[in-house]
């Protein structure tokens, strides 16, 4: 019995990585901004959305982990095999575009967070881009994964900075369990934005691909599922502390809008150097982390779906398209941040719109694929799982389309 439990724990540690990293990268520069905004403007009110967000995340991510473990194939591979090249090409084009705007937002996060420490962006961004590029091109899967897992630890900085601010914990707990809906359009927009930023199309591709890459099979699937759930829960816990920190620091002294995550860090200054520095460092860490993973994950998904050679263990000559795509995403994503007067906010709105088009597609494909008996065998969705999955998909599509509408409206302004 004891041996069995020890074995279980040992397996858990060998499968740790995919779910955790995916969930952590989800709290990227865009996510941190949305949560900061939620805290700054509405205080503890929006905290109740975090539990349902975690649930939706678990439902979608679990399907990806299961498909990866059972079929041994990435999501783009499966879409290609079942729906042909044209559909795959369309999905991949959208994925490249959304991820490109995400990469941009994260390099903006790097620039913003380091400017708080008086490092000008024309120094920080090129260095960050080079580091990101080298890390993946020169690293192996195992070494890169270890660095990424290390980066996960730094999210603790948000927890510490939240404690330093001494927010109103009673209100925070009350806000977490008590749903509040108001007919304030900005509030509704924010709630939708919180869901939108938490469940992004790239995650589905990244998680499934890394489950496959890690060699997780049906045998370790039970442990892998626990890992996915633990990752999702950790992710919303971090989000909780970000919201609470901003609620305590900004909202408690007068609710207001903030323009980017760096501004939120700035507002933490009166609570001491540490609270400020930890929040800013957390932003830097998250932005770097996401800026490393997104271009890589994009290049992998695209090349696998379209049948080009891919992989960091291949040479430039063997996998030219993979390396070009990866390099271009980083160079352009970092480059535009250095252009003075670049309409970043507009681009981020555009990314929400593209997200809104892509996510419904991806989710529908996922539920269809996970129900294919010839792919999944005895691992197809049960009727119960299907009910939940379709429900989650319908809710997510509804919210995403709403966000798409809002973003389009804002872009027209």
């Amino acid at each position: 019995m004891l041996k069995r439990i020890r074995r279980q724990i040992a397996i858990f540690f060998t499968v740790i990585g995919p779910g955790f990293i995916t969930a952590m990268v989800d709290n990227d520069a865009g996510g941190i901004f949305t949560y900061s905004q939620a805290g700054a403007k509405y205080g503890y009110l929006s905290l109740w959305t975090l539990a349902p967000i975690a649930l939706l995340l678990v439902i979608t991510q679990e399907m990806n982990a299961r498909m990866g473990a059972v079929t041994g194939k990435g999501l783009s591979d499966l879409i290609r095999e079942e729906y042909g090249l044209r559909v795959t090409f369309l999905v991949m084009t959208l994925l490249v575009l959304t991820n490109f705007t995400n990469v941009m937002a994260n390099f903006a996060g790097v620039a913003g967070s380091l400017e708080l420490f008086s490092v000008p962006r024309w120094v920080s961004v090129p260095i960050a881009a080079t580091l990101v590029w080298i890390l993946v091109v020169k690293g192996t899967y195992h070494s890169v994964e270890k660095i990424f897992l290390g980066a996960c630890v730094f999210y603790v900085s948000y927890v510490i900075s939240a404690f330093l601010i001494r927010p109103d914990w009673e209100q925070a707990l009350a806000g977490s369990v008590q749903p509040v809906l108001m007919l304030d359009p900005d509030y509704i927009t924010l709630l939708i934005g919180m869901v939108g930023t938490s469940i992004a199309p790239w995650m589905q591709f990244y998680l499934q691909a890394s489950v496959v890459e890690k060699g997780i099979t049906e045998r370790e699937y039970a442990e892998s599922r626990i890992e996915v759930i633990v990752g999702c829960v950790t992710m919303v816990v971090i989000a909780f502390f970000i919201i609470v920190a901003c609620a305590g620091a900004i909202w408690a002294h007068g609710p207001r809008d903030i323009e980017d995550a760096a501004q939120a860090a700035q507002a933490l200054r009166p609570f001491g150097q540490y609270a400020f520095a930890l929040f800013a460092a957390g932003l830097f860490n998250a932005s770097m982390f996401a800026a490393s993973i997104l271009p890589l994950s994009t290049a992998y998904s695209v090349c696998e779906g379209l049948g080009f050679e891919a992989g960091v263990n291949k040479s430039f000559r063997e996998a030219p398209i993979f390396y070009w795509l990866y390099t271009l995403l980083i160079v352009l994503g970092a480059g535009v941040i250095l252009i003075p007067g670049f309409p970043l906010v507009r681009m981020i709105l555009l990314s929400q719109v593209l997200n809104g088009v892509l996510l419904p597609l991806v989710l529908i494909f996922m539920v269809l694929l996970v129900n294919k008996k010839d792919l999944m065998g005895r691992w197809v969705n049960t009727r119960f799982q299907n009910t939940i999955a379709w429900l989650a998909v319908v809710i997510l599509i509804g919210l995403t389309l709403a966000l798409l509408g809002i973003s389009l409206r804002d872009m027209m302004r």
């Binding site: 060998t14 044209r86 090409f89 060699g215 099979t217 370790e220 050679e309």
Partner: protein, 412 residues
């Protein structure tokens, strides 16, 4: 004159009867590999209600503008298990490029248009991967065929000759009907084969291990990621799994079996022959962090009283070990380890030299229960290629070689 035609061009091609009336458009094409491995045997034509089947010898001409028949007795299409349909079974699927030793995804197929015995036939020449074929797929049916040809011409082709393509089909019966064999895979280097199976899905992977020769399977399996090894063995029939495990070096076999659920590994052990079973069982007694779990029980030991000639004779009896052997060991009558002789020394010594004189330097060995970290230290400190392992009474029971150490360190 010989000309090329792509599958993307063949699809949708108009088919005309003897009087030039249009019957329909090509919807798919199929090979019957048991009859001919590369000739398109049937063309499936969609027109009106149902699909029709055209046999290859009913065709007069195939050009980019259409297919003209010379015989109008067409039969309705019905699925046939001996048919490999290109659009359904090949396109967008993964196959193994045996020449390039990698897994590729099929984007398109290139045919050769040939005149054979008065009929125009298509033969598969190559399977296309890469950008050029992606372009063809994207514009297929959107732009005229000749425009697409012009558009793709600046891009370098990336194709695999049909003879080098190995289709992977998990169902053994279907494999038989489609005349698919894995014999080309057996000829690959085991390490390459291991890389290939790691890229495939579990079903395809298991089908390869179930079908290929056990010796090749064993060599490839020992190169595969340890956790994948376990899932492959679990999926195989216990009998086949036992055959493969028997062919593996005992230390590797024990490592794989230790990864399995106890029930499964017991089942496999039961199927094994007595001798390898005993060796593997012995190794399984050691826990993962002990020196004993790293050691191999295949080694050459000679009595310390012997001469170089005796040692060479002992080697002659163990030819299957020679490829990796770097030293032989001296033992006394009770089996206690007394010394090690590098193979090179034995090679230049006159046959009558007593073995004791050939022993090199002080004897370094470890106890089987020693912690494996200590083993790594010893290897590093003394720059060893191999290290004998002894039991509590000092009797030789195995040897750890540098390649085992390298794999363990790389996984850590």
């Amino acid at each position: 004159m010989e000309e090329l035609l792509y599958f993307t061009e063949l699809l949708g091609l108009k088919v005309y009867d003897l009087r030039g009336r249009r019957i329909g458009r090509v919807a798919d094409a199929a090979l019957v590999p048991l009859i001919d491995p590369s000739r398109v045997d049937r063309y499936l034509v969609g027109g009106g209600w149902a699909w029709l089947t055209i046999r290859y010898d009913q065709i007069r001409a195939i050009t980019l503008d259409g297919i003209h028949l010379q015989d109008e007795r067409l039969t309705p299409y019905h699925d046939d298990e001996y048919m490999l349909r290109i659009g359904r079974d090949l396109l967008d699927q993964q196959i193994v490029d045996v020449d390039g030793r990698k897994v590729v995804r099929v984007n398109d197929v290139t045919f050769l248009i040939r005149q054979e015995a008065g009929v125009t036939v298509l033969r598969i020449l190559e399977v296309d991967v890469g950008l050029r074929s992606v372009l063809r797929r994207l514009f297929q049916g959107v732009l005229p065929r000749r425009w697409i040809r012009r558009l793709q011409s600046p891009i370098a082709p990336n194709s695999i000759r049909w003879e080098h393509c190995n289709i992977i089909e998990p169902d053994p019966l279907r494999r038989l009907r489609l005349n698919i064999s894995y014999s080309m895979l057996e000829k690959l280097h085991p390490a390459d084969l291991a890389d290939i199976v790691e890229e495939l899905g579990p079903e395809e992977r298991e089908s390869i291990f179930a079908a290929i020769d056990s010796e090749v399977a064993a060599e490839a399996l020992s190169e595969v990621d340890p956790r994948m090894q376990a899932s492959i063995l679990e999926a195989l029939e216990a009998e086949k799994a036992a055959e493969i495990v028997e062919e593996m070096a005992p230390d590797e076999a024990a490592d794989v079996l230790a990864e399995l659920e106890e029930e499964t590994s017991e089942e496999i052990l039961e199927e094994m022959d007595a001798e390898p079973k005993a060796e593997v069982r012995e190794l399984l007694e050691f826990s993962e962090d002990q020196a004993g779990s790293l050691m191999n029980t295949e080694y050459v030991a000679v009595n310390e009283e012997g001469t170089a000639r005796d040692a060479v004779e002992a080697l002659q009896g163990n030819e299957d070990l020679l490829e990796t052997l770097s030293a032989i060991f001296l033992v006394d009558a009770g089996g206690a380890l007394k010394g090690a002789i590098p193979l090179g020394r034995l090679f230049i010594a006159p046959p009558s030299t007593p073995l004791r004189e050939l022993v090199s330097g002080p004897l370094i060995s470890v106890k089987a229960t020693e912690h494996r970290d200590r083993v790594f230290e010893i290897f590093d400190k003394y720059n060893l290629l191999n290290l004998p392992v002894v039991d509590e009474e000092g009797r030789l029971c195995g040897v750890i070689t540098a390649d085992d150490i390298i794999s363990v360190l790389r996984q850590g």
